[in-house]
Each structure stands twice: as structure tokens, then as C-alpha cells.
Symmetry: C2
Subunit: 202 residues, 2 copies
DNA sequence: CACATTACCGAATGTTCGGTCGGTTAACAA
DNA sequence: TTGTTAACCGACCGAACATTCGGTAATGTG
């Protein structure tokens, strides 16, 4: 829990392990519903000691949201196979997003609950909109090349797609016997080939 | 806004229109992030006047959650065509849930964000679990009769299904040019027949 | 051992929170 | 106009809130 080995001075928390505990609390009680007292109790620290590590509650939130956003944008920036169709690339982005969501579950969970009550939150919302926009572009290209059904608007498709992906944070727990890759496979299978489909046909 | 015509005494808010304003505020800033002062400002009332209509903030929440839950459970209790397959019934429940979600959007939105910080919230969570359980049963029966792909676990299917439906509250707005029935049709089409599918084949 | 460095704590700050209370104001009915 | 009913308000309360500050405790290093 306390992991700052190899440094000078009295040992104790580093920012990352502190952040981990804080984010867990934020996710359980909500950011506004979590007091610094509650964080202190979980950390086994006094309230005032937290301010030695971070400037305040809001910085904790900012660090968490930044981590989630970085991980998600990294998926979009993975350089695609130059020969791949937009449809294949879309499928890849969905698949990888599920993996990232699972790997950074608490941070992404917090990100998806932000409402815009402060500058930090509004910045995160802006970034999310940028992400959505880039996915919608990809869907549009996939629809144009005929890889995705034409009777549904690409923007709607994009929202359904990532609505489903994002909804995973509401129930998925990595220790529940369902592996990340199995989950990602099932999700892409259902979304791309349908619930009614016989074993896939790609 | 003030609608209590035909009664005796000084006119003013009734509980329903008050609730409507409160729930809108809760959805914008979060329940914990919304103070009674903020509610008073939106209502054009003083803080203390709110307590003339409801016992407190928590009753407001309880009324809203109850309304959402009643609407959702009513869908499950709609008596099915006795000849219908479980698959058809499942599709109907999904379709109707989208309609209810749209009709009671602010209340359902609030319901889906509850974290369990109080007795009222925990009761709502219990009810939601009951709802999920009844849907999962339906999926299991649909899978048993071969109407739904067998290579995905029914519980997972159920979660993906309602994950997608519930994610609508994050973006759907009834005034956005997309009608409820068009939305429900697109959603059921994508989920049951897949994103890749040519026009349906049921 | 002493020194620098880092981690931590108790007590207090001003502010905001949800909620209470006694009294006033506006409507309708008689 | 008077009585009844319901709606509303300003002032206030204790508790919880995030944050500050002066000081103390534990470590690695010389």
C-alpha cells in the first residue's frame, strides 16, 4: 500500500497509491458525496496529511480524470494497419476500448460520471466530446464503405456503440471469472453481428 | 409552472411541478452537488418554503426514484401475448423500456445514477437488481428456445442489452429530431440483428 | 550522533450544508 | 368583510465541509 521505496526521508504514501484509494472512494460514494474525512479514514491518515501529497480534493479528481482520458485517447492514436478498412479499424477501436476500460476501470468509471460542476470537470467533458467526435467520424467512414448497416444514422450508431461499451463500468469487475478478452469478444460479436446471429460470419 | 387550480387557499406549487424542477437540478449538478439553496433559486422560492411541500431533500429523491421504478416495472407487468415466444417478449420489453426511459427521462436518469449512500438509494438499488434479474430470466428462456445466440452467456447478454438501453439517458433528448419510436426501432435492430446486418431477417 | 528530508498530526479556520421556527401574505368562501 | 386555508419568508441552528498552520515523528545519509 505504502510504496515509495528507495527514496530519502520518512516513508509513506506516494501520489499514485493515494490516488488509487481516493478514486475507489469517489466511485463508491460519488465525488461530492465523499468527504476528506472519509478519504483520511480509508488511508489511515489524518485529514491534514492528505494536503501534503495533493493541493486538495479537486487535484485528486483532475489526476484521475487525466489518467482515464490519456488511456482512452491512446487507443485512437494507435497507428492503424494502412491496409485496414474503416470497418476493421472501428471494430479494433471498440475492442481496445473495452480492454482499456477494464485496465483503468476505476478511473474511467469516475470519468463517465462527471457532470461539469467545476473547471476540471468541464475540461474532462470537453475531452470526452472530442473522443466521441473522432469515433463518429470512423463510423461514418465505415458506413460509407458499406461495412456497417446504412439504415441507421452513423451518429446514432456511434452513440449506441460507445453507450454499450461505457455501460460496462456499471457492472464489470475483473475478478468475476469473465476475462477481459472474452468480454471484448462477446461485446463486439453481439454489436456487429447481432444477438440473434448464428456464430459470426466475418 | 404553478398548477394547483381549483383548490382552496393561496395558490402555489404542487408537489409534482416542484419535483420536476428539483429532478432537473439533481441531474445537472448531481444529487449531492445540489443544495437546497440552488433548488430555491430555480423555484423562485425561499429555502424554507420547500419544506412546506416535502419533508426534505431525501423525500424529493425518493419520490423521483419511485416514479422511475414504477414506470419500469409496469413494462415487465404488461401481460404478454400468451402465444408469444420468450424471444419476442424480450424484444418487446427492450422496445418498451426505451419508450419508458424516454417518457420519464429525468426520473430514470436520476435512478441510474444512484450509488447507495442512504436508505432511500439502497432501496432503489435493490429494486433495480430485481428488475435486472427478471430480464435475465427472460433472456435465459429466449436462449433456451434458440432465439438468441448460444455462444454468449445469457447473463452477459442481459447486461449488454440493458447497458445499451440505459446508456440512452447520457445523450438522448426528446427535442433532438429523433423520435422515440425511431430510436427504439434502431436500437432493437442493431442489438438483435447486428450492426453489420443488411435490413433485418426476422 | 546529528542533520536533512519527508511524512504526518491536532487544533482551528471560515463557509456551506440541510433543516427549524414563528410569523406574514394571498387567495377563496361565507 | 371576516374567517379559513394554504403558501411563503427571514432569521437562525448545529453539523459537516474543505482547507490551513505550527509543530512533531520517522527515516536515510554523513
Amino acid at each position: 500500500m505504502h510504496r515509495n521505496a528507495g527514496r530519502v526521508g520518512r516513508p509513506g504514501y506516494d501520489r499514485d497509491s493515494l490516488l488509487q484509494v481516493a478514486v475507489a472512494a469517489f466511485n463508491e460514494r460519488g465525488y461530492d458525496g465523499t468527504g476528506m474525512e472519509e478519504l483520511a479514514k480509508r488511508l489511515g491518515l489524518s485529514k491534514s496529511s492528505i494536503y501534503h501529497h495533493v493541493s486538495g480534493k479537486e487535484e485528486l479528481l483532475g489526476l484521475a480524470l487525466g489518467r482515464a482520458l490519456d488511456a482512452l485517447f491512446a487507443v485512437l492514436d494507435e497507428l492503424p494497419d494502412p491496409d485496414a478498412t474503416a470497418t476493421a479499424r472501428l471494430e479494433h477501436v471498440v475492442h481496445r476500448s473495452v480492454e482499456v476500460l477494464a485496465a483503468e476501470l476505476p478511473y474511467v468509471t469516475l470519468l463517465l460520471r462527471v457532470r461539469g460542476n467545476s473547471a476540471v470537470e468541464r475540461h474532462a467533458l470537453d475531452k470526452r466530446r472530442e473522443f466521441d467526435h473522432r469515433v463518429a467520424e470512423l463510423v461514418t467512414r465505415a458506413a460509407a464503405e458499406g461495412g456497417v448497416r446504412a439504415d441507421v444514422d452513423p451518429h446514432l450508431t456511434s452513440r449506441l456503440l460507445f453507450g454499450t461499451v461505457n455501460s460496462l463500468v456499471e457492472w464489470y469487475r475483473p475478478d468475476g471469472g469473465l476475462t477481459v478478452s472474452a468480454l471484448a469478444d462477446a461485446l463486439t460479436a453481439v454489436l456487429f453481428d447481432g444477438l440473434r446471429a448464428a456464430p459470426a460470419r466475418n
